[in-house]
Each structure stands twice: as structure tokens, then as C-alpha cells.
């Protein structure tokens, strides 16, 4: 019997209400106290195409994707061929047997569970929509019985879901029982996989990265969002709007303590964010690759004219429209050097919802402190899938860091103020906001070369001085970005592994697998750019380094070579770029085989 360690995949038709049924299944396992990680594998389509939802259950707490499907719940005949093929040997294929399964879908090495889902639903419900929706609940009921999930967990979930619409609770419970009863009758105790209650999750939450970013923006004091719809970033703004409705409506006047503008395109969205932050409000935008490309010109202006901005890039599979509903980490180089001329940008790499929340809130402090755009790179996997995460936390004593902004009193007291004068030696000048002082502190913000006093200049010396000061500011940024996290191995190792973002789960799992094979490596998780000191030390103190990325061109590796001058020969890439989240097996195989090759070479 395989307890709490398996993968279930649901094969549905897009737009048939399966998402909420599948989420219910995930949530039930979560409530059983067992680590669970769901992935949406959906088409760029609104209705009618195949869509999958894959749930990994892992007692050991491995939250990355795993290949090999133990149980396929196939409700979409369109994709039967692929679905049958993807079940691992000895696994189960549960399908809607209202229609007989064609011979070609029969495999000797897997088990078939036949449930006439449509028939059961049609004979119990007359309304077409109900037939559709309850068919989904019926298969969840079947899973409840097959996997031995506690029934009352579902009862609780229904009660919460339909609070205020209590009439719907018994309807759903009945549908669930239809599925359970069918299994009790026809397939009692059939599976060799099951869920057993544990207490492994403690205070953890189940949340999507995009919603976490949205909440972080509210907590970080963002009052303005400008955006242009694009998958997979749209739900960041949707979430921001929802949380703002909850927290930002003035009780007395009913007016909004925030504004959201759906811009005409991403160029405009970025321009709006710059205008707002230039004027002292905290503002952000969120987008994905194509939008980031459009924002390039403005990002250069913001870098050179030193205007704060916060941009959340939820990466998807590029180039161009690519696979817009699949994940990738392929905007790293574009984000790092967005725009023409010598530009570089501060990047943040969260890898779970808690970090999405923290880093979004922190991004506003960083942007205002450094007076430059902060680009957060998340991805579709993190943004649009539910992840188990540490709970959100906020220190009520925390004060926003609004950076070096001179007030009217400050201007009166200042000896001599220059917008681009590096008074403190950290490369960060003092800025002023419009409307502050009748006679002091006004200046002309521009993307053309300027003196320390913000006057137009074509003097080579003045220009060079400004560009060099921006490098000094870059050095300051190194000390302010979230620091790298090092995982020292139990045994001393001259091999290092570097990863970031959503590769983290699978990378951690792969480290365990390697250790089991007696391959001991140190690891580091990158969380920000420019590279911090810990990162530089890690790179220089290891002879060879595996760099794990979810893109084709080894973008982080390039960044290391450019910024740190790391020799290419010491960097080995582990690259997953097929649009599916990277797996531990993939990482393990690449690193282990490289070790094997090295051993056989010596």
C-alpha cells in the first residue's frame, strides 16, 4: 500500500466547471494534513479544449511536479489516447464509462475503473447545468472513497464554500455520496494508493502566488495599479482589486483609497506607474513577457532619470506568444537589462506565496529607497497554481521606507540641493515631489543627460559622472536585495547547485535523491539581483556549479558570466524549457549522470 505518495491527474474539458471540483479534491487532502501540490495544465482557450489538473500528494513534503501518473481521472474522451498513455505501469485509469471505451485504449499493464458518471448524473438531475456540475462532484466522491479521504472533510468544505447559500450544501453532499456509493458497491478497497491523516502542515496555508503578490501590494501601500490584461498575470490585478474592495474603501464616504486603470497597452501601463511614483504614490503594474518587451523604453527612462517603479512579471513560455498558458523562467536576461543603452535593473525571485507577499511589499521600499524600477520575476507555475506556504505575516511596527524624499522643511534646511547629487556616498540622491515647496526643489525630470542639478547637459564628463554614480547605486543595491539562501551539504563538497524561483521545490527534492546516492553537493537559492555577497562567495568557492533554470538559453548562467566573470567551463546548466514545471527526476538525472561521467573519466 502506497500511503500519501502519488500523483492524480484529472483530464477535463475547459469551461465545464471542473476547476472548482478539482480544487475541492486538493483542499480535502490539505485538510487531511498531508502536503499536496496541484498544477493547472490548461489551454489558451475559454471553452471546449482539453485541460488537465495534476495533484501530487507527498508525505515527505516534496512540492515539485513529479512525472508518472498513478491515477488518471479521465472525463474528456477527446484526450483519452494521451491520457491512457500517460498512466504509469500498474496505475489506474478511471473514466466515464457511460460510453464504452474503444479497444485501442486498453492496456494490459494498467487497471481500469469504470464509472458511468454521465448516466448517474443524468438520472439524478434534470437541469443541464446541474448535470454538468454534479458530474464533477460525483467523481470527487468516487475519489473520496477510493483514496479513503475522510467524508466529513468534504462536508466541512461544502459548508464553507456555500456559506450564505446553504441550500446548495445537501445537493453537493448528495452528489458526493452518489460517487462514493458507486465505488463502495463496485470497487471496494481497490486501490493500492491512499490518503491517511497526518499533521504535517501545522499553520501552513494553500495560496496562489498572484493573489499573494496582490495582497503584498495592498500591505506595501500601493495605491495605484495600471495594467493591460495578459495571462498569467491578470489575476495579480484581479486580486489587488478584490483586496482593495475589502480594505481600501473609505467607510464614511464610500470612496476608494486606491485607483486601478486598465491601460491601452503595456507601454501606457508602465508610463502610468512612473507618473504615479514620480508624484509620490506607490504604484505597480503586472505583466508577462510580451508586456515586458513593450515596457522597455520606459524602463530605461526610469533607470536613467531615477524614478521608482514596481513591476511584477509573471513569466510564461516565450518567445512571442509562445505557449501562453505554460510556465518558464525565460525573461531573466530581458528583465535584467531591459532597455537600450547601459541599463540594469534590480530583480526579485520569489519561490513561494509567502515570498510573493513579502517581496511585493518590500519591492515598494526598495524602489523608493533606490529610486529605480524593481522587477519581480515570478512565473505561471507560482502565480496561477495553489502552493503550500508558510502563512503571511506582517510586523505592525514596520514603517514604510519612503526613501530620500525632501519635505518643505528639509528643502529649507538643505544647504544646496541637487536632484542627482550623491550626498551620502551611496549613489542615491535626494528627490522632491511636485507641490512640496513654493520656491525650492522643483526640477525637470528627463531622459536626456543631466547634471547633478538636473540641468540638461551634453558634457561628456557630466554624463560619465552620472553613469558612474548609477553603478555606485548598483553596489548599494547588492546589499539591499533579499540575500541568497545557502544549503550546505552534510559532507564537504566542491560542487555547488544554484537555482531560483519555482525550481526550488524540485531542486530540494533532487538534493535529497542525490544524497541518497552518496552525491553530496552544496546548494544555493538565489533571491535577488544584483548578486549579493553570499552568491559571489558561493560561486567562487566551488569548483563546479550546476545552474538549474527553466529556459533554453541558460539565462542565469549568462548573467553570472557577465556580472561576475565566472568561467563558462565551471558552469553546467540543467535546463528545462518545455513549459511544464521542472521535476526532481529531471534534475537528479542530469546531475547524477554528469557525476557518473566525471567518475568514469578519471
Amino acid at each position: 500500500m502506497n500511503i500519501n505518495d502519488f500523483v492524480v491527474r484529472f483530464a477535463n474539458v475547459n469551461g465545464t466547471g471542473s476547476a472548482s471540483a478539482n480544487y475541492l479534491f486538493t483542499k480535502a487532502i490539505f485538510r487531511m494534513g498531508v502536503p499536496v501540490t496541484p498544477k493547472n495544465i490548461f489551454p489558451s482557450n475559454i471553452q471546449g479544449l482539453p485541460t488537465w489538473y495534476e495533484v501530487r500528494v507527498s508525505e515527505k513534503g516534496y512540492l515539485g511536479r513529479r512525472e508518472g501518473i498513478d491515477l488518471m481521472v479521465a472525463v474528456n474522451p477527446q484526450s483519452f489516447a494521451q491520457d491512457v498513455a500517460s498512466v504509469k505501469s500498474g496505475g489506474y485509469f478511471l473514466y466515464d464509462s457511460t460510453k464504452k471505451l474503444a479497444k485501442e485504449f486498453l492496456r494490459d499493464d494498467i487497471n481500469y475503473i469504470e464509472i458511468p458518471l454521465m448516466e448517474i448524473s443524468n438520472s439524478n438531475y434534470s437541469d443541464a447545468r446541474q448535470r454538468q456540475l454534479f458530474k464533477n462532484i460525483i467523481y470527487v466522491g468516487a475519489l473520496c472513497e477510493l483514496l479513503k479521504i475522510e467524508f466529513n472533510v468534504f462536508e466541512d468544505l461544502f459548508a464553507e464554500q456555500f456559506k450564505g447559500k446553504e441550500k446548495l450544501i445537501p445537493l453537493n453532499v448528495t452528489a458526493l455520496q452518489l460517487g462514493m456509493n458507486y465505488i463502495k458497491e463496485h470497487y471496494p478497497n481497490t486501490l493500492n494508493i491512499k490518503v491517511e491523516r497526518r499533521d504535517l502542515l501545522k499553520s501552513k496555508i494553500l495560496a496562489e502566488g498572484n493573489a499573494a503578490c496582490a495582497l503584498g501590494a495592498v500591505y506595501g501601500g500601493a495605491t495605484f495599479a495600471a495594467w493591460y490584461p495578459i495571462t498569467p498575470s491578470t489575476s495579480v490585478i484581479d486580486g489587488y482589486a478584490d483586496y482593495c474592495k475589502q480594505f481600501r474603501i473609505d467607510k464614511e464616504t464610500g470612496r476608494k483609497n486606491y485607483a486601478i486603470v486598465q491601460a491601452e497597452d503595456e507601454l501606457a501601463a508602465m508610463g502610468m506607474v512612473l507618473g504615479a511614483m514620480w508624484n509620490g504614490a506607490r504604484a505597480f503594474t503586472s505583466t508577462s513577457g510580451p508586456g515586458l518587451s513593450l515596457m522597455n523604453e520606459f524602463l530605461g527612462l526610469a533607470y536613467f532619470a531615477e524614478i521608482p517603479a514596481v513591476l511584477i512579471d509573471v513569466q510564461r513560455t516565450g518567445p512571442s506568444t509562445g505557449m501562453p498558458t505554460r510556465t518558464q523562467q525565460s525573461d531573466v536576461l530581458e528583465a535584467a537589462y531591459a532597455s537600450h543603452g547601459d541599463t540594469k535593473h534590480v530583480l526579485l525571485f520569489p519561490s513561494n506565496p509567502k515570498e510573493c507577499f513579502d517581496m511585493t511589499a518590500d519591492a515598494f521600499d526598495l524602489a523608493e529607497h533606490l529610486q529605480t524600477p524593481i522587477i519581480m520575476l515570478t512565473d505561471l507555475d507560482l502565480g496561477m497554481n495553489d502552493h503550500i506556504s508558510e502563512p503571511y505575516e506582517w510586523n505592525d511596527l514596520r514603517q514604510y521606507n519612503r526613501g530620500k524624499v525632501l519635505t518643505a522643511e528639509g528643502l529649507d534646511a538643505a544647504q544646496q540641493w541637487g536632484r542627482y547629487l550623491d550626498v551620502d556616498g551611496d549613489g542615491i540622491p535626494y528627490r522632491t515631489l511636485p507641490g512640496t515647496h513654493p520656491e525650492k526643489g522643483s526640477f525637470f525630470t528627463r531622459g536626456s543627460s543631466h547634471t547633478e542639478y538636473a540641468a540638461y547637459t551634453e558634457s561628456s564628463d557630466e554624463y560619465r559622472k552620472g553613469m558612474e554614480r548609477l553603478l555606485k547605486k548598483w553596489d548599494t543595491a547588492k546589499t539591499l536585495v533579499p540575500s541568497s539562501i545557502v544549503y550546505p551539504s552534510k559532507k564537504k563538497s566542491d560542487t555547488g547547485v544554484i537555482f531560483f524561483g519555482t525550481s526550488t521545490y524540485s531542486a530540494e527534492e533532487a538534493m535529497d535523491k542525490l544524497a541518497e546516492k552518496n552525491i553530496h553537493v552544496d546548494a544555493l537559492r538565489l533571491r535577488g539581483f544584483p548578486f549579493d555577497k553570499a552568491f559571489e562567495e558561493f560561486v567562487s568557492s566551488h569548483k563546479q556549479i550546476f545552474v538549474i533554470e527553466q529556459n533554453r538559453d541558460a539565462q542565469l548562467k549568462s548573467l553570472m558570466m557577465i556580472e561576475l566573470g565566472t568561467e563558462a567551463s565551471k558552469l553546467h546548466s540543467v535546463l528545462n524549457f518545455d513549459g511544464m514545471p521542472i521535476t526532481a527526476d529531471f534534475i537528479f538525472n542530469q546531475i547524477a549522470s554528469s557525476f557518473k561521467a566525471q567518475v568514469s573519466n578519471t
Binding site: 495592498v218 501601500g221 495600471a226 480594505f247 491601452e264 508610463g271 502610468m272 507618473g275 507641490g435 525637470f444
Partner: protein, 350 residues
């Protein structure tokens, strides 16, 4: 090279209600070509702000890129200015305005900046009725890149290098009317008498105010055959009315007989007084204004003055109901829900 204006002024210059003399509203010395229409418009802006008793630091000057977009450096040196990127001033102005609804946003753009690269943003900022003045210094060419035809060049107009424009020109006034701008005016850089009150009224208008000002480029498009030259405009100019902007509580003196006059009350209590109205045209009626523009075009007339006004239009903040307190002045305690609220959110996610 930096340009610092010689600070010599007649000691008894007139003061406005705020106690400022007109030089208080000036900027640094212009680097544009001598005779450029844009400089006259800067002069009109300076005068309008002086006469309207505007606090310069409560104005934000926004512009794109071009000779025209440089002008904000040449007026209101006590205002913050933002010389953004080519064609994208409207978005930057939108963000700035969202952050602080209490300032006056004075946008300056060129015809290239607005009607070509910036057309998308121009159209959308009108749609949203952002509370701002949007002044186009329209010379029918790209001055800063040496005189190429712009999208507002009239079909058949000849530029300095002798090229005849083959394409239809975009008429920004008609476009503004079509898109529902609540204040649409047209003028000529050489007519300060009209331009100054128009700018004052535009600043008082609580919403998007478009002023298209034909502003000849003496270097590249002031030749015979150009329809944006000083001579051509002077020959074809047709004023819709003479125009006065009457600030709050000022007694109205009029030299004209009743019936030829129209007064329009603005939200802040000021009045627009139009005298000698053109026949069959009502500046508060959009279709009448559109008609007037069409007729003028057919007759090769260049119509100037206040073309259309809707003093009741609702600006963006009123449409989306943002707080009366500017967003950039809300305190952390108003903005951050705190850890207690977070505990509830966490509970919902378990």
C-alpha cells in the same frame, strides 16, 4: 551649455493676487529657433498662469519629446516638469494625476508626439477624461528631427524641401470632439490675445482640455505652399468668437450687444464669456461644434477659439470615485490593514 536668464527686471512690475510678478512664472532661456511659434505659446502660458493667480508649484508640467516638448523648461521654473518619452506623455500624466488629484497637470506635446507615435495614448487619455490641459504645439512637421511631414500636415501642403504631402491630415480638434473631450479649443501661436484666456479657461475646466495651437516651425515649414506657415494661417484664420475668461466674482464688462454673447459658468465659479458668436454655432453643443469644424474645412478656413465645452463632464477621479484626499497623501495606517487582518486571511486559506 546651460542657459541662465539675465535677472534684470523693471522694479515696479505689476503683481497678481498672490503677490507675484510675471517674471516669477518664467523658465530658463529658450533654446528654440528664433521666431519659433512654440516660444510665443510659452509666453502665453506664462501670462495665463500669472493672470489666473496660479501657484507655480501646484502645477506639474508634462511633455513628450520634440521641440514642443522641450518648452516646459521655458516656463514656470518653480513647477516640477517631466519630459518623458516620445508620444507617451498622456500615460505619465495619468499616473501623476492618479497619485495627486490636487495639482494642475499641464501637458505640452507636438503634432508628431500626439498624432503619430502617441496617437494611442492621446485617444485614451481623452476617453478617460483625465483632468489636465493638453496643449499641442502643432507645426505640421517634426521639428526636432529636421522637418519631416507629420500626420497633421494637410494634404497638398508643401514643406521646405518642396515635398508635397500626399496623405490626409489628422485634425486633432475634430478627433477630440469625436472622442468626447469636454473642452476643445483651437488657436494660433501668433494670437496671444486669444490664447491667454483659452489657457486660463482650460486650466479651470475640471476634466480633459484640449488646445490645438498652430505654431509655425520657422526653420522647416514656414515656406510658401505650407498650410502651417504664419502667412497661410493669418490669411485663413477665422475666429468663432472673441473670448474672455472671467475669474470668479469679477464683474463682467462687455462692449457687445446682447444676443451676440454667451456666458458659460464653470465649476469653480468662473465664467467664460463669448462675444460676437459665429452664426449657427453653439459651443455647448457637440454636434454644432463638429459641424462648424467640417464647414470650416470645406471653406479652407482655420477656425479658432473655444470650439466646444461641456462644463458638466466628470473627470477620471469622479468616474472611478477615488478618495478626495490625494492618494499620495494617505497614511500608512490608512493603507496597511495590519497583521490582525492577515490572520483572518490566513485562516481562510487553510
Amino acid at each position: 551649455m546651460t542657459y541662465i536668464k539675465p535677472k534684470f527686471r523693471h522694479p515696479d512690475l505689476q503683481k497678481n493676487k498672490l503677490g507675484y510678478t510675471i517674471d516669477y512664472y518664467e523658465g530658463s532661456l529658450s533654446t528654440l529657433c528664433a521666431g519659433c511659434g512654440h516660444d510665443s505659446i510659452s509666453g502665453a502660458i506664462i501670462r495665463a498662469c500669472f493672470e489666473a493667480n496660479i501657484e507655480p508649484h501646484k502645477v506639474a508640467k508634462m511633455s513628450g519629446i520634440g521641440c514642443s516638448s522641450k518648452t516646459p523648461a521655458y516656463f514656470l521654473s518653480n513647477s516640477h516638469g517631466f519630459n518623458s518619452v516620445h508620444g507617451r506623455m498622456p500615460s505619465v500624466a495619468t499616473g501623476a494625476n492618479m497619485a495627486n488629484r490636487d495639482l494642475i497637470y499641464f501637458g505640452v506635446s507636438g503634432d508628431g508626439d500626439t498624432a503619430s507615435i502617441g496617437m494611442g495614448q492621446f485617444v485614451h487619455v481623452i476617453r478617460r477624461n483625465l483632468n489636465m490641459v493638453y496643449l499641442v504645439m502643432n507645426n505640421g512637421c517634426y521639428g526636432l528631427t529636421k522637418g519631416q511631414d507629420s500626420a497633421t500636415a494637410d494634404c497638398g501642403s508643401k514643406n521646405k524641401s518642396g515635398n508635397i504631402n500626399l496623405y490626409e491630415g489628422i485634425d486633432l480638434v475634430s478627433l477630440g470632439l469625436e472622442l468626447g473631450a469636454g473642452f476643445v479649443a483651437q488657436s494660433f501661436s501668433g494670437d496671444k490675445g486669444q490664447l491667454v484666456p483659452l489657457i486660463k479657461a482650460a486650466m479651470a475646466h475640471p476634466g480633459f482640455a484640449l488646445i490645438n495651437v498652430v505654431s509655425p516651425c520657422v526653420t522647416f515649414n514656414n515656406n510658401v505652399g505650407s498650410t502651417k506657415s504664419y502667412d497661410y494661417i493669418r490669411e485663413h484664420i477665422e475666429a468663432t468668437s472673441t473670448f474672455d475668461f472671467v475669474p470668479e466674482m469679477t464683474e463682467i464688462k462687455t462692449d457687445y450687444s446682447e444676443g451676440e454673447t454667451k456666458q458659460i459658468a464653470m465649476h469653480d465659479g468662473s465664467l467664460i464669456q463669448l462675444n460676437k458668436l459665429t452664426k449657427d454655432w453653439d459651443p455647448t453643443n457637440r454636434s454644432s461644434a463638429m459641424n462648424a469644424m467640417l464647414n470650416a474645412k470645406e471653406n479652407n478656413e482655420f477656425l479658432t477659439g473655444l470650439i466646444y465645452i461641456n462644463p458638466e463632464s466628470l473627470e477620471t477621479h469622479e468616474l472611478i470615485q477615488t478618495s478626495k484626499t490625494p492618494l499620495n497623501q494617505l497614511s500608512q495606517s490608512t493603507l496597511c490593514p495590519g497583521n490582525m487582518a492577515l490572520a483572518e486571511i490566513n485562516a481562510d486559506l487553510r
